[in-house]
Amino acid sequence: MNPLLTLNDVGMRYPLSSSPDGWYRVFDGVDFTLYPGERVGIVGRNGVGKSTLLRLMARIFAPSHGSVVWAPNTSVSLLSLGLGFRLDLTGRENALLSCLLQGHSKKAAKDCLPGIEAFCELGPFFDQPVKTYSSGMRARLGFGTALLNRSAVILIDEILGVGDAAFRAKAREALKQQLARERSVVIVSHADFQIKSLCDSAVWLDAGGIKLAGDPEAVLDAYNAAEEP
């Protein structure tokens, strides 16, 4: 099976005036492959570059060195909390816009809407401006939009922990079903049980690069052992 995504010796750095050489190195030498239908969890402390890694995968940033290669015609959507919504537009309008931005035609975007509406369970709020939403409701909309927009790969940046317990369970269940539909998922999460219950493999990102990759249980055990004071 050919990989959907290959990261080869990827490094990322930002200009930082307070560092001696003027650069802040987020990580270096990251190798990573994602196959169709695979679900990978990424763990690591705050600030080690988990979100940056997802953005590299989503082709939003170009790596400072190394290469990020996608299989041709793979659609990717990156999901992070509270971003990208226009607050004066309704949930429905934002969902439509989001589908259009992912490259769907207007008709295809409209076809996605009933599914998104049903999944988000926002009731009459779906037709209210997003500025009236609670943070949990925004997360539902974001999650529903990303999940149902039919992109082949979903990259999730720490949003599974939001919403109430019932919605979290539903979101997990919905993600599990994605496997049957051959969609790949990369999840950044601080909640061990999410990684354990959802992912087939895990990656521990530490300062400078990947510290450990493999079975979720093993990676999480090693990570937690290192993090305990």
Binding site: A58, I60, S77, L78, L79, G84, R86, L89, K106
Partner: protein
């Protein structure tokens, strides 16, 4: 194109929702400008120049299309950092959506202007069809300047203040309040027209709408060249700096 149009129309909708008077502002705003001019220049300063009110209205209502567009589009990359952080899109889409929205508004302003002029006794002639190419040239100029403005604001937020001040400076330098043909120094008038395309555009609008004259075609061609160069430069930079702009918009 669908995406751009949807973005623009959603933004118009959102804007109408933000304000109590909603879509009414489209006509209310130009009306208020004309009312203010009438109050200040006709009543307060007792201006005796004939038709000064229509002279100002034509200048201001076409100039403001430029100034508003550049200022609003200038903020678009920074304001859309949420979307930029989530989806890999051509970055010029964000300023373009604002400009597209402004184009819809300006159509209403042009309609208002035509109506206002007709009421003021200026009967439309075949020359008024010049409005179409003039507006098209102005739009290309607006796109070029706005794309560059958005890029500069993305580089450093400080440029936002420069751009605001710059458009105020242009308000006085583009012939909103004066007529370029009344400048006594021919060299100065020449260089104003060469260096500031808005001088030529505003003068051309007045020539066709108020003075029933064919505008200076060679001067307009020069404006076309200037606008095209600005636009090409901007598009080149957007392509070249695609990823850099994303990280700049997100991390700045």
């Amino acid at each position: 194109m669908t995406l751009l149009d949807t973005l623009a129309r959603f933004e118009l909708k959102a804007d109408a929702r933000r304000y109590y008077l909603g879509y009414l502002w489209w006509v209310l705003e130009p009306m208020l400008y004309v009312a203010v001019f009438y109050l200040v220049f006709d009543k307060l300063l007792d201006n005796r120049q004939p038709d000064f009110l229509v002279f100002l209205a034509v200048g201001k209502l076409t100039f403001i299309w430029f100034s508003k567009s550049v200022n609003q589009a200038g903020m678009s990359l920074v304001q859309n950092r949420g979307l930029i952080a989530q989806i890999d899109l051509p970055k010029h889409l964000f300023p373009m959506a604002i400009l597209h929205e402004g184009l819809y508004r300006q159509l209403a302003v042009f309609l208002f202007l035509v109506g206002f002029l007709a009421l003021a006794g200026f009967t439309p002639t075949a020359l008024w069809w010049w409005l179409v190419p003039l507006a098209m040239i102005q739009y290309v100029l607006i796109i070029g300047c706005s794309l560059l403005a958005a890029l500069l604001v993305c580089v450093r937020r400080d440029f936002q203040l420069f751009i605001q001040l710059g458009t105020v400076f242009l308000l006085f330098m583009s012939g909103v309040f004066w007529d370029v043909s009344s400048i006594s120094d021919p060299d100065l008038a020449y260089w104003l027209q060469v260096l500031n395309p808005l001088v030529v555009l505003l003068d051309s609008y007045r020539q066709i709408l108020l003075w029933s004259q064919v505008p200076n075609v060679s001067a307009l061609l020069w404006v076309c060249v200037e606008s095209a160069v600005l636009l090409a430069t901007a598009l080149y930079l957007y392509r070249r700096l695609h990823y850099w702009l994303a990280s700049r918009a997100i991390t700045q």
